[in-house]
């Protein structure tokens, strides 16, 4: 019989496979904060913008929601993570900024420095 530790290892492998299957290995991973506080600050609308972009053919991007990291007065926050690069954290993102992040960062590869949380 399998020990629980063996079972969990198997489950983890399966989980990772599923995540990868959802496109985790895309060049860019985008995380939109979706906690009560983020939503109150308008993150739902921001998420919609990203979703729409993905639906309309934005490729090589893995889009996911995340909980609140705790940076209250800069919410909504969006992270863009690329392997081998420093993760980029955008604060106070609204729909307009989200569109620009899509254009300039996700498509154009430019980090929009003035919106980055440091």
């Amino acid at each position: 019989m399998m020990k629980p530790l063996d079972i969990i290892r198997k489950k983890r492998a399966e989980a990772i496979n599923r995540i990868v299957g959802k496109g985790y290995l895309s060049t860019k991973r985008v995380y939109v904060g979706m906690a009560t506080c983020e939503i109150a600050a308008g993150s739902k609308e921001v998420m919609e913008v990203f979703k729409e972009a993905v639906n309309k053919g934005l490729t090589d991007v893995y889009l996911s929601q995340k909980g609140c990291a705790g940076r209250c007065n800069l919410e909504p926050t969006v992270e863009v993570i690329e392997e081998g690069k420093i993760p980029v954290k955008y604060g106070k993102v609204n729909e307009e900024k989200a569109r620009e992040i899509i254009e300039r960062h996700l498509k154009g590869g430019e980090v929009i420095e003035e919106w980055v949380i440091k």
């Binding site: 009560t36 939503i39 109150a40 600050a41 940076r71 209250c72 007065n73 919410e75």
Partner: protein
Amino acid sequence: MQTSLENDRMAKLKKYMADVLEKTDRPESYLIAVLHRAQNLFGYLSRDVMDEIALTMNIPTSHIWGVATFYHYFKLKPQGKHSIAICLGTACYVKGAGDILRTIKKELKIGIGETTEDGFFSLHEARCLGACGLAPVVMIDDKIYGELTNQKIIEIINNYRKRDRKSKEG
């Protein structure tokens, strides 16, 4: 129509209670859950609803009344169309929620726990809505408005009024 809607709600509540009774041998411990469900369906807890719960769940009415009045979440009167919850958590308070509350009270001419004469707004206080970064905040229905000023809150209230008027006309 109104009554059939009420009947429908009552049927849903009864179904919920039947499910509770089915799954547990401690039904009284689900009283608060049942009250939540009832308030969810009816908007508030009426005597008729509480009587029904007492009979079905086999819990003394006095006990249900004691519980319903103890917890501030439960409303014992019909509520206005929109609920305005002003956050009086510490962060909001320090950032001037007291002032905002005064403004709302003056604007709506009601106190906390009351409903405007036209049945349009009910005013409540909330402990902390968890949006401290946006303090001071109010929650109208399920939408949070933050970084309020006296002027801003009046504008928001007026927007609700306008929208309602439009939907009536349109």
